[in-house]
Symmetry: C2
Subunit: 499 residues, 2 copies
């Protein structure tokens, strides 16, 4: 065998060997069934390390060029042809026509939304995103997490890589039940189901309670991703305006008197997008109204752990003696979104019914992620991380509030959240999303336009600010740029003024 | 402060300190706002290590008994009351009535299925499961995986714990595209969407193509979990009998001539449950029939990588020049089910439409799991693991086939799979599931009763054997026991004979 390995090349030696041998096989110089030299002798001939040849042979096996029968590893084999990539013509099937009407609508919404989240790398000095709502990755307790992963893999690696159970890893459910008791919620682990983030929680609730001609009430504005998801699940969505203390209860009562509603979806703490925290009085009254009408409440507690400005009221679930509240929680907004771990807490029977859907929809959530999360919490790392987040975001929110006072035009107003990451800014008049976006981009800053957060409304006088991924300097600078842009947009007089 | 720590107790010292201090706070002896001694001085007083006291204080902070302001960590604080657990009365809402009719049916099916998978610990010497279909965890390449996880967390920990992109981690998609080329499938990474296992792939396909009064064709028998899932998604399910070479194409043609069908679901390799591999001729003909009728094929390639008995035909997707095949793959059946990583390969436009659903249903799959899986594959660990699995299961399947010949009554017959884990056994007559199960349990063995695998059929003359989790000795012993039980059940004559 003549191998011609160019030692001056910057390609790793083993790769050059792989390429040479592949060529010899493809040309037919090395025939099927013929043995290659032992790694030792080839290494000697080529003057390379034996492990280099070993690595090359392993790669050739992986690519299907060498047989791998025990005791005869280096025999050339007839290789399955690797398909070349040739882009095909369009499908013979019209996927548009094949899609359900719900899937069609969802796809149109999907295309309107920004196609992909901006990656952290794009958040350069030149560009500040006041839009992203996931916790600052620079605060991740990475080393603690890595240690936990190693311990889990060493102690229960086999278990953690198998299928889990449908309702979730029991010790994690027990731990969550225990944590919830600190928030006044009294549940057992049997009333908890682990989900792939709170988002899957909403989807599962919508799937169990959904169906054609069903109706759901949401706050208006509300979490943008919930609107298309409920629509996709067949719901007609009824919006109830958000007021200073929570949703307009008079409007809610009128709807519930008139309509048969499957559930009321609410975010009582640091609401997304407004940052409004529903008062205790409002929580009690909301619960009573829903009790009277026998309508379940879906309480999204996605930032329950982010109460960094003193006392925030306990969840509605904590005063729910009649088991009508379906509570959603998550580790995505205070720890790692990338693990995809959230949970649903509800009446045991409903949990069983939701587990049935989860069991057939994706079998189980990642067992490894659940076991590691449990161990991480149990070691106290989660609590320690929360304390740090609280300290950091208390300061960051204060910086944001001061900067808003300092830089924003006096015709603009905003909410003052008691925790979480978002603020809701009201401009002097409605502005279409593209105009706002362009003006802000020109100043090197982005926000999340308000139109997304209302059912059936595409322009608005609002936008959402999020400080989730920014440090104090970035917040100050971002809001300064925002202020400049808004001053330009809302000059007291000028040619660009519109009705 | 008087602390009374019982040093003879077996409880860890820090826990005893925690309990004592909690009691003092709860009794009011330690008042709100009062500082605790420094960890150094308390350690000296109690004669314990300082780190013990430190750990106790951290625990007390986590439980809400101590403040944690920077510089003053040890001040007693008024603690939020922890809710006691008191089981509530039943919900005021009837979840049965609130559920959609699809969710109700799914829940009834769920209750019929065995509630949870048996844990590996239950597979003791006394009891052999020929039912479980997930790869033997004793073969997991745990150490390789742990190394990869560490490398990923050290090199790109921050990225891996953030939200990923809707369609999945690009390098993993590219890697999968490359692997698929070895199976003759020519796709780009744009035609791939990562899912939480192949199960979510089926759900997403059903959700995009579903809707009331839609119809789907499945093989009869077919993968048990697909039947309730399609039903839940609104499909009427039409079964086409499995024959020796694949589904009965004559029967399929008649259905497609008569009915408007949304898709045909097929498992061409080592079909679950029968173990039958569809012949190449059959694959081509199936594709042509579906092309003629403009009906998409959903090809479940869940065990594509488990071709250990020589040449198996290429996937239908590999000869699909018109982009009508939706191909499902997974890492769950040859590597780790617990990571929940699978994928869909289909026409780019359909992938976009499915991504829209995934984006709103659970945002993204675990970024960490995807990045680690990519690195694991790239290092060659997956290929090395597959080679080992092939060697091991070639032998195991041979042992199973020999044992069946040796121990099973001559009135019983079975399929001879060319890969994968399952065999399909035909008994001389129909047997109800409970009778079969009881007789087998009495002999210390279980199988998976055939009724589950047929649409609308609950007793059958079949059962499924799986050797996925058993070694050669366990397979031999399990089949020996099975043989005894079957000999007893099907004695040539006897009182228990039934029509």
């Amino acid at each position: 065998m003549l191998l011609n390995i160019d030692k001056s090349s910057s390609t790793p030696a083993y790769k050059r060997i792989v390429e040479e041998i592949k060529n010899l096989i493809n040309q037919g110089t090395l025939e099927t069934g013929k043995p290659l030299p032992s790694s030792r002798s080839l290494a000697q001939k080529l003057g390379v390390n034996r492990s280099t040849v070993y690595q090359a042979y392993a790669e050739l096996q992986a690519q299907g060029y060498l047989q791998s029968r025990p005791g005869s590893y280096n025999i050339v084999q007839k290789r399955r042809k690797e398909a070349a990539y040739n882009p095909k013509s369009r499908s013979l099937i019209s996927w548009e026509k094949a899609s359900s009407s719900e899937a069609k609508r969802l796809y149109e919404t999907f295309l309107c939304y920004s196609p992909e989240r901006p990656k952290s790398s794009k958040l350069s000095d030149q560009f500040i995103s006041l839009a992203a709502l996931d916790p600052d990755p620079r605060l991740y307790p990475l080393e603690d997490f890595r240690k936990c992963l190693n311990t889990v893999l060493l102690n229960s690696g086999t278990e953690s890589l198998q299928y889990g159970t449908y309702k979730g890893y029991r010790p994690l459910c027990e731990h969550i039940a225990q944590r919830l008791r600190l928030h006044g919620i009294s549940v057992s682990d049997e009333e908890i189901l682990i989900t792939n983030g709170a988002q899957q929680g909403i989807d599962l609730v919508a799937r169990v309670l959904g169906g054609p001609n069903k109706k759901a009430v949401v706050e208006s504005p509300t979490y943008a991703n919930v609107i298309p998801l409920l629509d996709f699940n067949g719901f007609k969505i009824l919006g109830v305006p958000m007021k200073q203390n929570g949703m307009d209860l008079g409007a809610l009562e009128k709807i519930l008197d008139r309509e048969n509603v499957s559930f009321v979806y609410t975010i009582p703490n640091f609401q997304n997008p407004t940052g409004i925290t529903t008062s205790h009085y409002h929580r009690e009254k909301l619960l009573n109204i829903c009790l009277e009408h026998r309508v379940p409440i879906v309480e999204d507690g996605f930032e329950e752990d982010m109460k960094y400005f003193g006392k925030v009221d306990l969840p509605i679930k904590s005063i729910d003696d009649n088991n009508i509240v379906i509570y959603l929680g998550t580790f995505s907004k205070a720890l790692f979104p990338g693990l995809r771990i959230g949970w649903i807490t509800a009446d045991k029977e409903l949990i069983q019914r939701i587990a049935a859907i989860k069991r057939f929809a994706d079998l189980t959530s990642s067992n490894l992620a659940q076991i590691v999360m449990h161990y991480f919490c149990q070691q106290g790392f989660y609590d320690r991380h929360l304390k740090r987040l609280h300290r950091v975001f208390r300061r960051r929110m204060q910086v944001a509030l001061k900067a808003l006072e300092k830089y924003l035009p006096s015709t603009v107003s905003w909410t003052r959240p008691v925790g979480g990451y978002t603020l809701w800014v009201k401009m002097p008049r409605k502005l279409n999303e593209v105009d706002l976006h362009e003006q802000l981009l020109a100043h090197g800053v982005t926000v999340s336009p308000g139109g997304y957060y209302f059912p059936n409304q595409h322009s608005s006088e609002y936008f959402r600010l999020s400080i989730a991924r920014l440090n104090e300097q970035e917040i100050e600078e971002g809001i300064k740029r925002l202020g400049k842009a808004l001053h330009k947009l809302f000059k007291p007089s000028g040619p660009e003024r519109r009705a």
